[in-house]
Amino acid sequence: MSIAIPSFKVETRSGTSSLAALAAVAGLALAIAAPLIVSRSVVQDLFFILTMLVLAQNWNLLAGYAGLISVGQQVFVGFGAYAMFGAVILAGVDPIVAILIAGALSALLAIPTAFFTFRLQGPYFAIGTWVVAEVVRLLLAQWKALGGGTGTSLPREATKDMAGVDIVRDLFGMKAAAASDALTYWIALLLALATIGFIYRLLRSKQGLGLAAVRDNEQTARAVGVDARRMKALVYVATAYVTGLAGALIYVQKARISPDAAFSVTDWTAYVIFIVVIGGIGTIEGPIVGVVLFFLLQKLFADFGSWYLLVLGLIGILVMLFSPRGLWGLFSDRTGIQLFPVRRKLIDGPLAHMPKGGPNG
C-alpha cells in the first residue's frame, strides 16, 4: 500500500520581513548615532522608551507566550536596582559591571521565588508574584546600609567615572554627564536588541514550538512530551535575568533609589502590562507599538496626573474586551504584515526545496 504524502516546506519567513530587514538596518544606524545627533533630553527619552520596551518584551514573553501572568515583575526591577546599588556602594564595583552582577543575582532570586509562586495556578500565580515582590521590598527596606525605607543615591563619581565614559567623552567631545547618558543609552539599545533577538530566536526554535504548544493546551503538550513545567521555569528565570539587568540599568541612570520607587507596581508592572495589552499581547511587534504609543500618550497627558492613568486603564480594558490581540493584531489581521514571523506556515512544494537548516537553522 503506498500513500502519497504531499510535501511541504515549513517556513516562518515572509516576504515583507526581508523588506523590513532593510529598513531595520537603516533605523539601527540612526539609533546608534542618536546621542551624536539629538539633544540630551531626547537621549533620555529614548533611554526610557528602550528600557520600557525591554520590560514589556519580557512580560510579553512571560504572559503572552508562557502563560505565566505575573503582576510582580517589579520584584526583579527593584532587586536588580538594589543589587547594583549594593555592588557599587558597598563593594565599590564599577556600575557597568554591577549591572551584570545585578542580572545574575536577579536570575538567582527567581529560583526561590519560583519555588513559592509555581505552587499557585493561573490567577493565584499572579497575586502570588505580587506577594513575593512585597516581601522582597519589605526586606530591602530593612537594609539600613542602602538607606532603609527612605533610600539612597549613587555617589556622583561612580557614574562619572563609569567604565567607558572617558572614551565616549574624549571621542565625541561630550561633557561627563552627557557621555554617561550616551553610554547608558547605548547599553539600553543593546539590551533591547538582544532581548528582541533572543525572544525571536527562542520562538522560532524547537523550544518556542513547545512553548506555543503549552500555551495552546498544556495537557496535550505534556502528552506529546513537552516538559511544560521546566519550560515555564526556564522562561521565568530568563525573564528575571533580563528584567534585573533592565532594572539595574534604569537605576544607574536615575542614580537615586528607594524601595517604594524601585518596587512600584504602577511604574514597572501596570505601565508594562498596558504597553503589551494595547500594543498586542503574544507578538513581538505588539510591545514595540505599545511602547511608542505609551510614550506619546505620556508626553501629551503626563500633566493630567491620575487622569492619564485612568484613561490608560480604560483603553487597556477596552482593548482586552474588544480587540484582545491589540493594535498590532488589528493591523496584522488587516494587512497580513508580520515583522517577526514566528508562526509556522506550510508551503506546498517539493521537499527538495527545503532550505537548509529549516526553522531551527
Binding site: 504572559a63 502563560g67 501572568i69 503582576v71 519555588f115 513559592f116 505552587r119 499557585l120 493561573g122 490567577p123 493565584y124 499572579a126 497575586i127 502570588g128 505580587w130 506577594v131 513575593v132 512585597e134 516581601v135 519589605l138 526586606l139 527596606a141 530593612q142 507596581v265 504602577t266 501596570a270 502590562i273 498596558f274 495589552v277 499581547i281 496626573g305 491620575s306 487622569w307 492613568l309 485612568l310 490608560l312 486603564g313 480604560l314 487597556g316 480594558i317 482586552m320 474586551l321 484582545p324
Partner: protein, 287 residues
C-alpha cells in the same frame, strides 16, 4: 499577660481579613474568577460610606446599609456587562481586565477625593472597650470579628440551604448542564458578584472606621484577602476565616517584636503555609 493580649488582637484583626476575603472566596468558588480590583472595590465602598456620613450626617452603620444595595448593583453590573465577557478557558482576559479596573478605580478615587488619608468617624464607639479578666478588648474589633462570623455563617446558609445557593453550586460544577436546568449562568454570576459586593461593603465599614485609608489602599487589602483565602484553602468559607485569623495573629506577633515587621510577618506566614500545604489548611474539593 501581653502575649495573650497580642493573640486576641490578632484573632480579632483576622476577622477583618476574613471580611476582606469572603467576597473573593465566594466569587472564585462559583466562577473561578480572581478579581484583582477586589481591594479597590473595598476602598470604593469605604469612600461611599464616608461620603454618606459626611454629606448627609448619617451614622456609619446606617450609611453602610444604604451603600450595600448600591454596591450590589455596582457588582451586578460589573459582572453582567463587563466581566462575563472575559470568562472562558483563558485566564488572561479576566486578570487583565480586573487589573485595568483596579488602576481605573484607584485613579478615579484619587481625582475625586485626593490622596489624603481618611477615616470614618464613629464617635464614642471608636475607643469603647470591654474588659474580660485582665484583657481589654476593643468593641469595634470585637464587632468586626462577630460580623465576620455572621457573614460567613450567612453565606454558608445561602449556599447550602437556598435555591440560589444550589444554582451557584450547580453552575460551578457544570455550566452547560446548569443551562439545561433553566439556570442562566450570566445572571447567576452577576448575583454572586453583587453579593460579594455586599460583603465588601461590610468589610469597608470596618476598614473605614478602624483605620485610615486612601485611594491607593486597595492593593494591600487584595493581598491580605488573597493570603487568607490561600491559607484557608480554596472553596471553604470557614477555611477563609481561619486563614484570616492566622494572618492576623502572624501580623500582630510580628508587630509585637518590631512594628516594621507587621506586614512582613503576615506574608511570611502565608509563604510558610504555601510551602507546607500548597492547597491550604482546609481545602474542600479538588479544583
Amino acid at each position: 499577660m501581653s502575649f495573650i493580649d497580642t493573640i486576641v488582637q490578632g484573632v480579632l484583626l483576622g476577622g477583618l481579613y476574613a471580611l476582606f476575603a469572603a467576597g473573593l472566596s465566594l466569587v472564585f468558588g462559583i466562577m473561578r474568577l480572581v478579581n484583582l480590583a477586589h481591594g479597590d472595590l473595598i476602598v470604593l465602598a469605604a469612600f461611599l460610606i464616608l461620603l454618606l456620613t459626611s454629606a448627609l450626617g448619617l451614622n456609619p452603620f446606617l450609611a453602610a446599609l444604604i451603600a450595600a444595595p448600591l454596591m450590589f448593583l455596582t457588582g451586578w453590573g460589573l459582572q453582567y456587562f463587563v466581566l462575563n465577557r472575559t470568562l472562558g478557558k483563558d485566564v488572561l482576559p479576566p486578570l487583565l481586565v480586573t487589573f485595568g479596573i483596579s488602576i481605573v478605580l484607584q485613579n478615579g478615587l484619587l481625582e475625586a477625593f485626593s490622596a489624603d488619608s481618611r477615616r470614618v468617624s464613629i464617635g464614642a464607639l471608636e475607643s469603647a472597650s470591654i474588659g474580660v479578666g485582665s484583657l481589654n478588648i476593643g468593641l469595634m474589633p470585637l464587632m468586626t470579628f462577630l460580623s465576620a462570623l455572621a457573614v460567613i455563617f450567612g453565606l454558608n446558609q445561602l449556599i447550602y440551604r437556598t435555591a440560589l445557593g444550589r444554582a451557584f453550586r450547580a453552575t460551578s460544577d457544570d455550566i452547560v448542564t446548569a443551562g439545561l436546568m433553566g439556570i442562566r449562568p450570566q445572571r447567576v454570576f452577576a448575583m454572586a458578584t453583587g453579593l460579594a459586593m455586599v460583603v465588601v461593603t461590610i468589610a469597608a465599614l470596618y476598614l473605614g472606621t478602624r483605620a485610615n485609608f486612601d485611594p491607593t489602599s486597595g492593593p494591600s487589602r487584595l493581598i491580605y484577602a488573597f493570603e487568607a483565602v490561600i491559607i484557608g484553602g480554596l472553596g471553604s468559607l470557614w477555611g477563609t476565616l481561619a486563614g484570616g485569623v492566622i494572618l492576623g495573629v502572624a501580623q500582630t506577633l510580628g508587630a509585637a517584636v518590631n512594628p516594621e515587621w507587621q506586614i512582613l510577618a503576615g506574608h511570611l506566614a502565608f509563604l510558610t503555609v504555601l510551602v507546607i500545604k500548597p492547597r491550604g489548611l482546609f481545602p474542600r474539593a479538588v479544583d
